[in-house]
């Protein structure tokens, strides 16, 4: 049988040259097209690493809304250095491996000016080294102590949210004086939970208390009663902090386990972020205490700036979405996105940021920041930034559940949250 050879008909030398020339022109197009616009109209691209799926999805949804609201405000005010801000959002699946890939996409594919917005500590720890290698300024909103501990690099900063070490250090005196000194801790078994374990244990010991038992729970766990028998009988305070999609189950089973008896409860609101405090089965939380990064339920003395922020993001008096009262926000954390974007704006303006060639100048400008007064750009309250450790410090709040309402009962000072520097990132080369 004869097979006719027809496939390569028409490939002549002239046609091949034409194609090559066209391809070369096409390939170079983005370069010169971008160059002519670089200094004027091109937006500043913020790569937003968002936990749209995976165990961080509830946080991701609200981090997204807060970020969109902040960008809208910044753009309405004329943008940054006269340029609009554009958010390039990529889902990282709350997965460290995907996180590093997303950072790479920001730098190489989307041409972002900075990376921003990561929350879960294991994703930050997985992504930050890549950001450092790609020399992409990486502004995380994560709470973990990994930035200030010196574990990361000069390109990673946390200027919009305080870290766990400073939070728990400021909580320990209140817990020891008002609730009890014999503590049992329940925490998720990954970097964020380990920060709680290590730093609260040290902080409560400094107050003359002790931790009787550490109960680590895998972050993807779905049933919890089996862990609770490990709580010693002489526990005075149960310290709980939990994350992930099963937090409601966790708190419910905690209530069913104790059934009205049991120790005093001190929780990080993380255990109830995105969950309504008046959900069925949570009645036992009445009179228990929570750390809050920012008070979810509107307090009588709420500042005008916070009210403005609440309205801009679309959150009602009980911390739920104004369009759906069942959609409760992650109010104690998401302000970090708003404040971080305003720090980025201030940093870019101070350094006259014009493009990726000014990334080092941007980091130096943020490192030079110190006191950040409360205002529209800092609705959670005044902050103090430490340029050496790349970590911000601020007020912390303790709320008590009273009549189904989270009522603020204690505010720490910024000084309560400070600790000696563990690193000086400014000595690292860019």
């Amino acid at each position: 049988m004869i097979t006719p050879k027809s496939g390569l008909k028409g490939t002549t030398r002239r046609a091949a040259l034409k194609t090559l020339a066209g391809a070369a022109a096409g390939a170079s197009l983005p370069l010169w097209a971008r160059y002519t616009h670089a200094q004027t109209a091109a937006p500043i691209k913020v790569g937003f690493q968002v936990h749209r799926t995976g165990i961080g999805a509830a946080y991701g949804r609200w981090y997204d809304r807060t970020t969109q609201a902040a960008v809208k405000l910044i753009n309405e005010g004329g943008g940054i250095n006269g340029r609009m801000v554009e958010i390039v959002a990529e889902d990282d699946g709350t997965d460290p491996k995907r996180g590093a890939e997303v950072v790479e996409k920001f730098a190489n594919q989307h041409g972002c000016d900075i990376g921003f917005g990561t929350l879960f500590s294991h994703v930050v720890i997985g992504s930050a080294p890549r950001a450092g290698e790609l020399k992409l300024p990486y502004f995380v909103v994560s709470e973990g102590h990994h930035v200030a501990s010196g574990k990361l690099n000069r390109y990673t900063l946390q200027p919009g949210i305080t870290d766990v070490k400073s939070q728990v250090q400021a909580m320990a005196p209140y817990v020891a004086q008002n609730l009890g000194r014999k503590v049992t801790m329940v925490f998720p078994d990954f970097a964020f939970g380990h920060d709680h374990r290590d730093f609260f244990t040290a902080a409560i010991e400094a107050q003359g208390g002790e931790v009787l038992e550490h109960i680590a729970i895998p972050p993807a766990e779905t049933s919890f009663t089996k862990y609770f028998p490990k709580i010693p009988r002489d526990t005075e305070v149960l310290y709980h902090v939990m994350v992930g999609p099963a937090v409601l189950t966790f708190v419910k089973e905690l209530g069913e386990f104790f059934g009205g008896q049991g120790p005093a409860l001190f929780g990080f609101i993380d255990s109830l972020e995105a969950v309504a405090i008046d959900s069925p089965g949570l009645e036992f939380l009445e009179n228990s205490y929570f750390w809050e990064g920012m008070c979810r339920h509107r307090q009588p003395d709420e500042s005008a700036d916070e009210t403005f922020y609440r309205e801009a993001v679309g959150v009602d008096d009980r911390g739920a979405s104004v369009s759906d009262a069942r959609d409760v926000s992650t109010y104690a954390h998401m302000f970090g996105c708003w404040e971080t974007l305003h720090v980025v704006k201030a940093g870019m303006e101070a350094s006259g940021y014009a493009g990726p060639q000014d990334r080092a100048a941007l980091i130096e400008a943020v490192e030079a920041m110190t006191d950040m007064p409360a205002g529209r750009d800092h609705p959670q309250g005044a902050k103090r930034f430490n340029g050496k450790t790349h970590q911000v410090f601020g007020h912390q709040y303790i709320s008590q559940v009273q009549g189904g309402q989270l009522v603020r009962v204690h505010t720490t000072s910024i000084e309560d949250t400070l600790y000696p520097d563990e690193v000086d990132y400014t000595t690292q080369a860019f």
Partner: protein, 308 residues
């Protein structure tokens, strides 16, 4: 906590796990036994059951008991119907070839999971239980003046958890009765024993296959409806039941219903007790080790009659 109350609590927790696991695994085992299809998408049928239960409970908000009762009936039927459709459109076209059906059900797993993610979203959502009272369990303790009744800290369960155990026992009995005492059960067993011979005797094997696949998926969905008021509906919740079901089915013997139930109770209870006394990770390690040992020393499973 003292040893006695500790053990009671661990057993109760383990019994709930075992109850749900037994239902899910029996579904998987049935499909393998009759059809020789290893259904990797089984966990996703479980997840669909929970998500549909949430949707139904949401639709009749305000009446948790009505919503739950409705979900208990409707969710397994809907999931079963989906599975029948999947059988007729996919598995039948592959002529139930063992290797190709594994790949096809892996594909089905991702399709169901991602469609749920797109439609239902990434959040975990609760379903209100129809009833849920905490029942404190008393304990005897020898005090200064003889034996006395005490109510130890943390020793308790809820009426709903007990109901889950009860419901699972009833459903398993019903499945056994269906297989052993009805004509349709006879037809299924005939197909399981010898497909060619069943065909020769005029049994509509393809319809039996569709029915079995639907029944298996329906059982998984039913298990999920029972557990969803305790846990929550989430698009990734199918992974654990799938893994544990395979463990149970391998230990019990593929295709053997009594073996599956015994293995589910064994794994569920040991998971509860080992989790409470040691750690949940150790419980998983031991279960996996047991699978390894069974595969090496008794590949047909504890109750498996002939080589699978």
């Amino acid at each position: 906590m003292d040893l006695g109350p500790y053990l009671v609590l661990a057993t109760l927790e383990g019994a709930v796990t075992a109850a749900v696991l037994a239902l899910t695994a029996v579904g998987l085992s049935l499909v393998f036994g009759v059809m020789r299809v290893v259904n990797i998408a089984h966990g996703e049928f479980f997840m669909l059951g929970a998500v549909i239960a949430w949707a139904i409970a949401q639709a009749v908000a305000g009446y948790p008991a009505v919503g739950f009762a409705l979900a208990l009936v409707a969710a397994p039927l809907i999931v079963g119907a989906l599975a029948v459709a999947a059988d007729m459109t996919i598995l039948k076209r592959l002529e139930y070839d063992p290797e190709r059906t594994i790949v096809a059900t892996i594909g089905l797993l991702y399709i169901i999971q991602q469609l749920t993610l797109m439609g239902y979203g990434p959040d975990a959502r609760p379903v209100t239980p129809p009833f849920n009272t905490r029942l404190a369990i008393p304990w005897f303790e020898k005090g200064a003046d003889g034996w006395a009744l005490i109510w130890p800290w943390g020793l308790g369960t809820t009426s709903y958890k007990l109901a889950v155990i009860g419901a699972a026992v009833v459903i398993l009995c019903a499945v056994w009765a269906l297989m052993a005492r009805t004509r349709i059960g006879l037809v299924m067993r005939a197909t399981q024993a010898d497909r060619e011979m069943a065909l020769a005797f005029g049994i509509p094997v393809e319809r039996v296959y569709a029915l079995v696949f639907g029944l298996g998926a329906g059982l998984a969905a039913l298990a999920a409806v029972l557990i969803v008021p305790i846990q929550q509906a989430h698009y990734l919740m199918g992974a654990d039941p799938l893994l544990l079901s395979f463990i149970v089915v391998i230990i019990g013997g593929l295709g053997s219903l009594p073996g599956t139930v015994v293995a589910a109770v064994l794994i569920g209870l040991s998971d509860g007790i080992i989790s409470v006394f040691f750690s949940p990770t150790l419980a998983k390690i031991l279960a996996t080790l047991l699978v390894g040992l069974v595969l090496v020393f008794r590949p047909q499973g504890l109750f498996g009659g002939r080589g699978a």
